[in-house]
Symmetry: C2
Subunit: 195 residues, 2 copies
Amino acid sequence: MTTAVREEITTRTKSQPTLTEYAVLGLLGQIGEPISGYDLQKVISRSVGYIWQPSKTQLYVVLRHLVEAGLSTRREVEQRARPDKQLYRITSAGRAALRGWLQRDEDTSDPDRSTLVLKLFFGSQGDRLALVRQLAAFRDAYALRLATYERMRDKERPYENDLSDEFTALTLSYGITRARAAVEWADAAQQQLTR
Amino acid sequence: MTTAVREEITTRTKSQPTLTEYAVLGLLGQIGEPISGYDLQKVISRSVGYIWQPSKTQLYVVLRHLVEAGLSTRREVEQRARPDKQLYRITSAGRAALRGWLQRDEDTSDPDRSTLVLKLFFGSQGDRLALVRQLAAFRDAYALRLATYERMRDKERPYENDLSDEFTALTLSYGITRARAAVEWADAAQQQLTR
DNA sequence: TCATTCATGTAAGCCGTTACATGATTGT
DNA sequence: ACAATCATGTAACGGCTTACATGAATGA
């Protein structure tokens, strides 16, 4: 029974890490010392929490995956007064994977999912130039979007099948506001990083 | 075999609609005339697309759900030159469900998931006052966030387990920029709607 | 006495994605 | 000759959430 489960899990492994897995890896890298899943969650809520926050259940799953992929070690610590705990620590393979991820350009130009911002959070562990380059791509993607939105706004009868009214105009202006804010932020960030 | 599948689906029904289902329902309501899934997708890409965009596969699933829930009718149209198609049209029960959704305050105060903006898109089909009220809640949620972020920024040593550096400061400033933009937009929108 | 902290997990299920299938028709 | 348009779907699976379980220790 146990073995059967093991096998299933093992065969499923090997695909490349998810966003969440990289995020956890990034934290392990940033923290340095071994840390339990439980404590990690607290760190998250005080740091990356505002960008990205998985449920605790998922966190435990992700940590297991990282260990299976050799990106983290797990060490069991027995306690008397408290339940036993597992301490996780990034491996050198983990650091390499993280650096690789931070390096790689994202081909998806969907700025909202915003992998870029997450990467930037862990920027100190990666290559500065690669991040600046990705930041520029992020900026451009949003600028493009912004242009599209503004074109939509400025047409009086955008398309045959038109749904526009007072309310849709409002939501469109929301999109514009957000996109503009993103572009401006990206510009400032770029200056900051290249200065 | 077929019957078995039918049963499974039927028993699973009955839970209240998902966000995506409401979104499709909103579109059916806005459009008025019967429309095929295929055409719906096009409308989406030209309208709500920038807020929310399901895959075509999911769209077909959602339409089936709506019919099963009695919120939409489906009428088969046979064609010679083209594949047959199904035309969907909102029912009165559907309109009622939609109005109810637009009315209801959302208890989750997570502004990012942004149900509010989606609701606003369909605002013309709902009660103006209810939407203004929800818009205010949205504004407040973001204002609260903004305050939290600014507090984080202004502390030099935020917490024991501190991760802050040049990069995290940058991402924090991203959060601040976004939150501030959201608050400002919400204020303007509120004025617009109450004027 | 009762809630909270510590610490990890299982089970069930939802929402959604990508890849693939089908097959005639129209445009380049 | 080849690609795109029309039109709908199945299969497989992935990521994530919520609810639930456990059980001692500490604090109000």
